[in-house]
C-alpha cells in the first residue's frame, strides 16, 4: 500500500463529511460529518507518520490529542443541542434561521 492510497481514503472521508455537513438537516448527522473530517485528518497524520515523519511518535500523539479534543467537542456540542432542543423542540438546521440579514 502506498502513501497516496491512504491520503485518498482520508480525502474521501473528508469530502463525505463535507457533504454531510452541507446537505443534512439534522444537527446530529452534521456532527457526524464533522467527526468524519476529523478522522480524515487523523488518517493523514498516521499515514505521514508511518511514511515520512522524522520521529514516528509524533503522529500517534497527535492522533490521541485529536481523539481527546473530538470527545470534548462532541460533549459541548451535544449539550448546546440539548438547550436548542429545549428552546425550540427541533434540531432541524433549516428551521433555525431567525438571526440573519
Amino acid at each position: 500500500m502506498s502513501l497516496s492510497a491512504f491520503l485518498l481514503v482520508s480525502l474521501v472521508l473528508f469530502s463525505a463529511g463535507l457533504v454531510a455537513i452541507m446537505s443534512r438537516r439534522n444537527l446530529v448527522t452534521i456532527l457526524v460529518g464533522i467527526e468524519l473530517m476529523l478522522n480524515a485528518a487523523s488518517i493523514n497524520f498516521m499515514a505521514f507518520n508511518y511514511y515520512t515523519a522524522v520521529d514516528p511518535v509524533v503522529g500517534q500523539i497527535i492522533v490521541l490529542v485529536i481523539i481527546g479534543l473530538a470527545a470534548a467537542e462532541v460533549a459541548i456540542f451535544l449539550s448546546i443541542l440539548m438547550v436548542l432542543y429545549r428552546a425550540r423542540h427541533d434540531v432541524d438546521v433549516e428551521e433555525i434561521r431567525e438571526i440573519r440579514g
Binding site: 473530517m37 493523514n44 497524520f45 515520512t52 515523519a53 470534548a72 467537542e73 425550540r88
Partner: protein, 482 residues
C-alpha cells in the same frame, strides 16, 4: 524556576481560573467570584508586564516560545481581558444561574488565547485554538433569551468546528511534507517546501481556522450573527480578546511562510489573500450600510477591518507586521469602547438596536463622548489611532506596489463613513425613545476603563512613536525566531 517565570502570565490566569472554580464550588456569591476573577486578571496583566522583556523556551525547544512579540500580545490580551471583566460583573442579559460562571470561562479562554500567541508547534497551536473556543461556545448559549442564544451558539460552534477541522487537515499536509510540526524546522525546510503546490494549499487550509477567528471572507459569516446573539460581555470578548490572538498567530504563520529573504514564491498565496481581503472589505462595508442593530453593525465592521488587516498582512514584510501589531492595539481599544457603550445601553435589553442609542448625548454625556472617540477611530479619522493605524496598514501594502488594493481599501473606508456617522447621528441628534429616557450611570470601574481606552486611542493617534517602536521591536523579535 526560570521556566516557570516564563509562563507566568498563562500560569497566573490558569491559577485564577482554578481559584474561581473553587469559589464556584464553595458557592460564593456572584460578586465575590467576580472579584476573585478580576483580581486574577489584574495579576495576569502584571505577570505579562513582568515577563515583557524575557525570551526563552519553557518547554522542549521548538514547542513554545516566549519572546517580546508573544509577551506583547499576551499583555494586550490580558489588558483586554481586564477590560472585558470590567463589563461582566452581573450582566442581566445572561441566564441568572450563569452569572457566576462567566468570569471562569473568560479566564480559561484567555489562557488558551495566550497559549496561541506563544505556540510554535502546530498541534499546540491547534490545541490552544480549541481551548480558547470551547468556553466561548458555552457562554453564548447562556444567553437569557434561550431561543436566540442557542441558535447563535449552534451556528457559531458548527462553523468553528468545520474551520478547525479544515485547519487540522491542512496541518496534516504540512506535517507530511516537512516531516515535522515545529514551525522553526518548517521554516528551515521552506526553500524545498515552497516549490510544492500542496504546501501552499496546506498552508491555506491551515490558515482557515485563524482567518475564521479573524472573520475574513469567506469565513466571516459568523461575525454579525454571533455578535448579535451573544450576551454583550461575551460579544465584547469575542470582538476584542480573541481577535488579538488570531492576529498574532497569523503574523507568526506568515512570518514563517514568506518573510525571510531566502523564500520562494509566496506570490500565489498572496494573490489569494488579496482577493479575500478585497471581498471582506467590500462585503463588510456594504452589508453594514443597512444594519439596524448596533452589535451586528460592529460585526460587519469587524469583517471590513479583517480585510484591512490582511491588506497589510499580504505584504509579507516587517513593515506590514509592525503596522498590524500597532493597529491591533488601537483596534482593540476602539472596539472595546463601542462595545462598552453597547453593554451599558443594552443593560436590560437582549439586543442593542442602533435606535437604542438615541439621545445618548443627554442620557450620559460621558458615554456619548466615548462613543464619539471609538467611532472616529473605527472610521479612521484623525486624531485617533484609526487614522494613523490605517495609514500604516496601507503604506505597508503600497511599499509593495499594491496600488490597486490600497485604492480599493481607501474607497472602502470612505464608504464606511456613512454608517459610522449614522450611529453618531442617532446618539447625538435624536431624542431618546420614551421608554428609555433615564440617565445612564456607568460604574466607576467602567468609567476608569473607558478613560484608559479613550486615552490609548487618542495617544496612539497623536504620538504614535512610542507604541510604534514597541511594535517594531516585537516584530524584530518575531523575525529572530526563524
Amino acid at each position: 524556576m526560570a521556566n516557570v517565570l516564563l509562563i507566568l502570565p498563562e500560569l497566573t490566569i490558569f491559577l485564577a481560573a482554578i481559584l474561581v472554580f473553587k469559589c464556584l464550588i464553595l458557592g460564593l456569591s456572584v460578586l465575590h467570584v467576580w472579584r476573585v476573577a478580576f483580581a486574577g486578571s489584574l495579576l495576569g496583566l502584571g505577570a505579562c508586564l513582568i515577563t515583557l522583556g524575557m525570551t526563552g523556551e519553557p518547554f522542549h525547544p521548538g514547542i513554545y516560545r516566549v519572546d517580546l512579540f508573544s509577551q506583547l500580545m499576551k499583555t494586550v490580551i490580558a489588558a483586554a481581558l481586564v477590560l472585558v471583566l470590567v463589563l461582566s460583573d452581573s450582566p442581566p442579559v445572561m441566564r441568572r444561574d450563569a452569572w457566576r460562571e462567566l468570569p471562569f470561562f473568560l479566564l480559561l479562554s484567555s489562557a488558551g488565547l495566550m497559549m496561541m500567541t506563544s505556540a510554535t508547534e502546530l498541534i499546540t497551536l491547534y490545541l490552544a485554538l480549541e481551548l480558547s473556543a470551547f468556553p466561548v461556545y458555552a457562554l453564548i448559549v447562556l444567553h437569557r433569551d434561550r431561543r436566540m442564544g442557542s441558535e447563535g451558539a449552534t451556528k457559531y460552534m458548527l462553523q468553528g468546528m468545520v474551520a478547525s477541522a479544515v485547519t487540522l487537515y491542512g496541518m496534516s499536509f504540512i506535517f507530511g511534507l516537512s516531516g515535522t510540526t515545529y514551525l522553526s524546522e518548517i521554516a528551515a525546510a521552506l526553500p524545498e517546501l515552497g516549490s510544492q503546490p500542496l504546501f501552499w494549499v496546506g498552508l491555506l487550509l491551515l490558515l482557515a481556522g485563524f482567518l475564521f477567528k479573524l472573520a475574513l471572507f469567506p469565513f466571516h459569516f459568523w461575525a454579525p450573527d454571533t455578535y448579535f446573539s451573544s450576551p454583550h460581555p461575551v460579544a465584547t470578548f469575542i470582538a476584542t480578546v480573541s481577535k488579538v490572538a488570531a492576529i498574532a498567530v497569523l503574523c507568526r504563520m506568515v512570518a514563517v511562510a514568506g518573510w525571510n529573504e531566502a523564500s520562494i514564491d509566496g506570490e500565489t498565496l498572496r494573490i489569494v489573500l488579496i482577493v479575500l481581503a478585497v471581498a471582506a472589505m467590500t462585503l463588510g462595508n456594504l452589508a453594514a450600510l443597512v444594519q439596524k442593530d448596533f452589535k451586528r453593525l460592529l460585526g460587519y465592521s469587524a469583517i471590513a477591518h479583517a480585510g484591512y488587516i490582511v491588506v497589510a498582512l499580504q505584504a509579507f514584510s516587517s513593515l506590514g507586521h509592525t503596522a498590524i501589531v500597532f493597529y491591533t492595539i488601537g483596534y482593540l481599544a476602539m472596539t472595546w469602547i463601542c462595545f462598552m457603550v453597547a453593554c451599558e445601553v443594552g443593560r436590560n435589553r437582549d439586543t442593542v438596536p442602533v435606535s437604542a442609542l438615541a439621545g445618548l448625548w443627554q442620557r450620559s454625556p460621558m458615554l456619548a463622548l466615548c462613543l464619539l472617540i471609538g467611532i472616529f477611530g473605527l472610521t479612521g479619522l484623525p486624531p485617533t489611532v484609526g487614522f494613523i493605524g490605517k495609514w500604516f496598514l496601507f503604506s505597508a501594502a503600497l511599499e509593495d506596489g499594491q496600488f490597486l488594493l490600497v485604492l480599493i481599501a481607501a474607497l472602502n473606508s470612505a464608504v464606511a463613513v456613512y454608517y459610522y456617522m449614522r450611529v453618531l447621528r442617532v446618539a447625538y441628534l435624536l431624542e431618546p425613545a420614551k421608554e428609555d429616557t433615564g440617565i445612564l450611570a456607568p460604574s466607576p470601574l467602567v468609567v476608569t476603563g473607558a478613560m484608559v481606552a479613550c486615552l490609548v486611542v487618542l495617544w496612539m493617534g497623536v504620538a504614535p512613536n512610542y507604541f510604534w517602536e514597541i511594535a517594531a521591536e516585537a516584530i524584530v523579535a518575531l523575525g529572530a525566531t526563524y
